[in-house]
Amino acid sequence: MALAGFANTSSRRTSAPMRRSRVAILLLLPGLAYLGLFFLAPLVSLVITSFEAPNPESFDIGSYVYSFQWQNYVAGVAEYWPIFLRSFVFAIIATVAALIIGYPIAYFIGVFLRGRASLQAFTLILVVAPFFISFLLRTLAWKQILGDDGWLVTTLKSLSIMPADGHITGTAFSVIFGLTYNFIPFMVLPIYASLERLDLRYLEASSDLYARPTTTFLKVTLPLSMPGVVSGTLLTFIPASGDYINASDDFLGGPSTQMVGNQIQANFLKLLDYPMAAVLSVVLMVIIMGVVTFYVRRSGTEDLV
């Protein structure tokens, strides 16, 4: 009887986690299926495409056959490395600019306005408000504002700050400007989220120990907000390096500002050179993963991401 009782409990002990894991698997299924279908399968297809070779039987444009043409990668990197370089330089500058502009905004909302919930909500809405309008329309609006007959350029020219034949749209400046502008909310929100939880008593303690405001910021505030800074910079850098809207001739860019995203688009939709488009996409992903891994390791926040 007693034994039976023990047996009973022990069997219950093993079956409960078993049941739980079965439920967990059941609950995970939709997510796994989603990832498999919409992430893993396209990724595999992309990698396969990147090794394809032109169809030897026909000269049809856009016709490729399954192969292991690894030389595609050599050709892609050899031809497009300056564009990769430009993309990452643009993305890094835009990320740093967004951080410089975004951090004070996040600090203002998260620390200065603490305790004034309605003001905080209002300023947060101001940060998010641009999202209520389409990304494309906002960028097109900037194209109008920065255009040669726009008030900005005409004013700068009449003040002789800008040479008479100078212009803003179609330059590296306007592309980086567009990237910065479009991704600032992605920088502000995560930093705000970590600053909002910042315990102000740490700052008091710091000043009690005779730390100057700069020291307090560098030794206390900044390290405590690092998780936000890391996710903010990643959320800005990753999409910015692959962006193809801002740098496009139809928006803020010109022939000399083309980024990798534009070349992927051109290869895919104009030249119908799918293997090259796939090569560029894979290389872009690998580089971004490398950069991100290095960055997260260096900033010592890998357990936070």
Partner: protein, 405 residues
Amino acid sequence: MSQKPEPQDPRIASLVAKARASQLTRRTFVAGAGSASLLAFLAACTPGGGSKTLTPAADVSATEKTLSWANWPYYIDQDEAGAYPTIDMFEKQTGIAVTYEEAIPTNEEFYAKVKDSLLLGQDIGYDLVTLTDYFAARMVSQGLMQPIGLADMPNAQANLNPGLLDATYDPGRQFSLPWQSGMTGLGWSTKAFPNGLSSLDELWDPALKGKIAVIDQWTDTMALILQSQGVNIDGEWGDAEYGAGIEVLKKQVSDGQIRAFTGNDYTELFKSGDIVAAIAWSGDIFIMNTEAGADDYGFAIPDKGGFLFSDNFMMPMGSRHKSNAQDLMDYYYEPEVAAQVAAYVNYVTPVAGAQEAMQAIDPALAENKLIFPDAATLDRARVFRQISLQEDKSFSTQFEKAKVG
């Protein structure tokens, strides 16, 4: 639920049009998700593009009075309610229900969307498509299109502009029939050039640095550059001549002379003052002047020669409504119908007799040289000799590379 009226301000209207063009409609999304993605996935798993000859699908027009047509945005007459008057009239006359979709943003994008079914000769969802010459040439040489029975189309036979009958890629028009034509030449702002422009070399004047746009399509831009170099594009020329033309383009890119490579978007650049001259399409210049209500912009075929392009009706192998499609094409070759379309789209109509028919609709338009160019103008707008697929691929790749300097 009534539809919201279109915005009056042309700037806002063009913003709306752009936002729309970059969205998927629910219909195309559902259709695409259903067939294209699955097929794309299957096609990715199988060795692609066999070389077997395709045959036309069986014509079921006798029992199915339907037709679907893929065309470019703003490329047919449309009334304020958003309906297409000439299509409505066709439906009334013939009892054929037409599904008209603005499904072609660019030839390449459209092709990328339908190619998996198209290459297998299956139904791509459209019985009739409208493709530009250079792309139509690819389709013909790949054997992806059904023959058109010109003999069964009295209007088309009688009224097709004789100059367009023998396309270099399709002599006698067995697989294609022009929908609209247009001229590529020089466009300028009359504020900057009261006397206009006459030669392509004037665009390369250092004083215009960064104030020039050219068309983001090798055929249009290179046709003008090659001719400015003295090449007869309809005659014999090859890689050497093309390479020399590409060098000219590269130099203008690296000098910063060319501000942008665009499709129709150069019209926006004109309006914002970013450019003062461009390689441009006749129809766009006409529309900008109409919008401005003044002759703010000028257009001319350059002295050494311009480019004439057509967008052509074609029937994919998988189309099951050949007879219905031919009825529709023939209908648009009635001069009165063609004039009604021309009065809206403002491109060059391929239908002889449309100019006379236009007199009844709008006498001013009938006199407009951009819509009804005189023989001397048309004579200077030339077409390319036949371009092989290998050349096409090499030329477009070289062009894309030259664009980034």
